[in-house]
Symmetry: C3
Subunit: 395 residues, 3 copies
């Protein structure tokens, strides 16, 4: 109880401009806004854990637009919307005409007459996902200004080509709980490193999201990858600036060992090189199947040169006291379990398995917090009222 | 506020038999019943716009059965049901056995045990959609009479081969709001005209729905199409009779210019000729792919003879003061935007774009009104109670 | 009203351990637990029939996982969840990685953070469906114990390779209502017999579910099939033991006539022989298309030897007074209606059609009862409170 009251008190101290703003990139948000997202997520979790209803909507639609497959994020979005009282309707583009130019503008309005929030995943094409989300946002602004829409639905980025904010914020909330407070992250070393995977074409948005967020809080962030596996240059540059500003550190190294050395936290995860993703985007656009196959072949054989980029027990011994916290967005490529050789040794994964599940478990609340902050100007007051009302979620 | 009270007062004056009746064709409804549908839609929109809950169902299912693709109507139906408190479940026929005879009767009952409303789109086969909906209705009557079903789900026609009442009623509500009252439509000229499109096989239900509805209110309705692009003869005949009865006019012309001349409203929209739709239905039934391809080819080249049936700036100048209201059910084939040559010039569409969006925006409320009138014997009282209760939709 | 009170009084007398236990097999439940399921289903039906809300959840997700097509059970599950206030989210495995070993454990947790119930249909592979459900259950136990999940979602078996408890319990509730009480079933003869069908590979779970349940209540159960069409031996053996224990009878005969002789109830329904299902499981696992085609051919031609296993008017005359109650889980293969030669003559089916619809109509309430008993330790009290609150389902 005092826990909840404390959360609300902290919330009230923050200055936030999240109201009526889409949540597309964490680095577009101020530190207070990120803190507010974390606190609201915690408060919503508290309500749910104490069987108190958080239904702030009596009715209303939430549209999900998954332009790529998803299980985890799909269910997290559905859970978040349901928690708040919104019903999810999936926009299946195979049955619609949503595409480019005119039609994005039109469809965005057509699905939004009674819609409060839109969640979008669009991570396939480098240079497009984020652009698409902004285009949808502009269309909604236009519709709202012209009184086509009685409300401006908020947009939540459920993963784009640049950032994966619902993932990185859930990861951050996990760290906050693991270390007992955001302030305790100061000076902690996190190793965001590439890891070997037998698959290819994994998006860049997770590592970008991690370095783009963790450099905000005075952490020591190491980004490690084999030569050539670069991320979007602008994001890497920004991470460096953020680290300086927050009193933290950021460096790029080409050795997993170096990144793991004395790390408090390790995040070994595969991705495709930026240059490959650029080529792939072109090939996908032109439906060049042969080109795609050739690129995949070339990329996989290049990957194979770095099979030693695996989070093994040996590598874990390099970390602080040999006990760094292992993180992953799941599903991980686990050696001898989900594949022959992968990102992480089975024994390492198994030891941290429950922690990775808990890490994932914050995502529904992070999404719900993003929605709540977008739709209510005073989240603290709203949460306080829910708490006082104390309506049971389950009778 | 006085606005809402006025709507309710008007509602109370009407005599309506909408309770427990399916909404399949507008011409099966009396003028009072159509007025009631418009008024209830307006009242529901008023509630929603003032953040008042219209949740008349605490729980209950609404089944959607889309036998053809749809985005706009799908989301309108979902929005309407959610507004009233019903949860949409989609009947995906690829996973079921719903078909003909025995099985329609059975499936209609199997999905309806706890169902309050069923929305059906079935516009592919000429001579079938409406028949199918009546068959479902008969099956539900049978199940309800034999106490298989604790309630008789109402059916809403979400587009059949003959009529598209949720579209035409939304169009009408748009006109009512645009001109400041249903009585102001008297004497207004509307041109429902064919327009060129590079696609083929577009259903007849929109133009049929428009001439079948707009002739009820003393309007001057011109139906225009190139020779051969006839609609279902019985519907055209009926439109003529209705126009006479309502003190309006109805004529068929073979010139877009003639229809546009001095028109207050223009509705240029492509459709396939009745005879072609009959042939197509036969070919679809026999899965005759070659036949379908040949018919499409023939039809498209015939269409191409009428590329000048485009709603251009020049044509718009022919209308009353050059300022007729442009209408469309969307998506429109916009020249140089969604296609090279289409139904409407880009500059004309752009000028009326926001109006067409608003037009579409009435559909969720029209559908909700159809449901409310079907399930409640006294809609006025119900709406008044919701208004007085004043429960917030969003806290 | 006194009807409802009586239901609650009966409920209060029962000792039940259904709370927090999955409902996978009827024979894992005590007689009191089965009675409780029936009574709660009746009480929920009473509430719904009297327009009283049974919404015990303010929010919460229900996951459906259909690993095989379904219409009836899909809508029954959706109806049940909606009745109680849960929103269904479908886990579409084509878009996820749920499979075996590690991944079942992970996915089970990933979809369950805010989930109250999971309904699973998995009836394709002999030896797998039930095993899969237990695996999911173990994963959920693990997640709950480690505080990954704030609640342990209950599992409802929506048909596995062994049992189909939502079907057999709905069938039983139909009999209870048809004969005016569970005690009136004592001594009644039911003929669960194989019947000819032009299709193949129908699961064994319905006949197994029937003999596994009806032998619990002192009935005389005849299982009849042509030589070779055996069920899982262990289930048949268990049915015999149960019949003895309950003061009923159980025998296996190879003649439809013998089973029909003096029967009070007949349940003629096709299934594939146990041995064939075992072979089929192997072939399905290895994607052996030719093998499957050959097996189907062989099986269909074997079926064809038993076309006289049809529930005809003649056969019906053999039953008690010629008036046995005909039952079926639907859809039935009706001769001259849904196929040329099938399980049942058209005139017999038509005479009992409405009864089979009513039989199916109990399924949503049975499922809702299973959920309610799983989530609430005192169902009687909960139902009483709902009744007293008397909140209207439809305003």
């Amino acid at each position: 109880m005092s826990n909840f009251t404390q959360l609300i008190e902290e919330l009230k101290k923050l200055k936030s401009g999240l109201f009526e703003k889409d949540f597309l990139l964490t680095w577009d948000k101020t530190e207070d806004e990120l803190r507010q997202t974390l606190l609201v997520a915690e408060a919503l979790k508290h309500l749910r854990d104490h069987n108190i209803s958080a239904k702030v909507f009596d009715s209303g639609l939430a549209i999900s637009n998954f332009r790529d497959n998803s299980t985890r994020t799909r269910f997290s979005f559905a859970s978040a919307c349901n928690l708040l009282g919104l019903e999810v309707q999936d926009l299946d583009e195979t049955k619609s005409q949503i595409a480019h130019g005119e039609t994005v503008r039109e469809t965005a309005n057509m699905i939004s007459f009674l819609t409060d929030v839109i969640g979008i995943r669009d991570d396939m094409f480098l240079g497009e996902g984020h652009t698409y989300m902004k285009e949808v946002g502009d269309a909604l602004d236009d519709g709202f200004q012209h009184a086509v829409l009685p409300q401006r639905p908020g947009i939540v980025n459920l993963q784009c080509d640049i950032d994966h904010p619902t993932q990185s914020m859930a990861d951050l909330l996990h760290l906050v709980n693991y270390y007992g407070g955001l302030e305790n992250l100061k000076g902690k070393k996190i190793a965001m490193t590439w890891a070997y995977s037998p698959s290819y074409g994994k998006p860049l948005s997770v590592p970008q999201g991690i370095i783009g967020l963790m450099t905000r809080f005075g952490m020591e962030v190491d980004l490690a990858y084999p030569e050539g596996y670069t991320l979007i240059p602008e994001v890497v540059e920004m991470a460096g600036k953020q680290a300086s500003a927050s009193g933290g550190k950021f460096r790029v190294v080409n050795s997993m060992d170096e990144a793991f050395a004395n790390a408090d936290i390790v995040y070994p995860k595969s991705w495709a090189p930026f240059a490959v993703m650029q080529q792939r985007t072109q090939l996908l656009k032109t439906y060049d199947k042969d080109g795609l196959k050739a690129l995949e072949q070339q990329c996989l054989s290049n990957n194979a040169r770095f099979k030693d980029w695996e989070c093994t027990e040996e590598k874990m011994k390099l970390t602080k006291g040999g006990k760094a916290l292992y993180m992953h967005c799941l599903p991980a490529d686990i050696s001898d379990v989900s594949c022959k050789e992968g990102e992480v040794a089975a024994s390492v994964f198994e030891r941290y398995r429950i922690e990775t599940y808990k890490e994932a478990g914050y995502k529904p609340y992070i999404i719900a917090a993003m929605i709540l902050n977008n739709k209510f100007s005073n989240a603290a007051e709203m949460l306080e009222n829910l708490y006082k009302a104390g309506k049971k979620r389950v009778l």
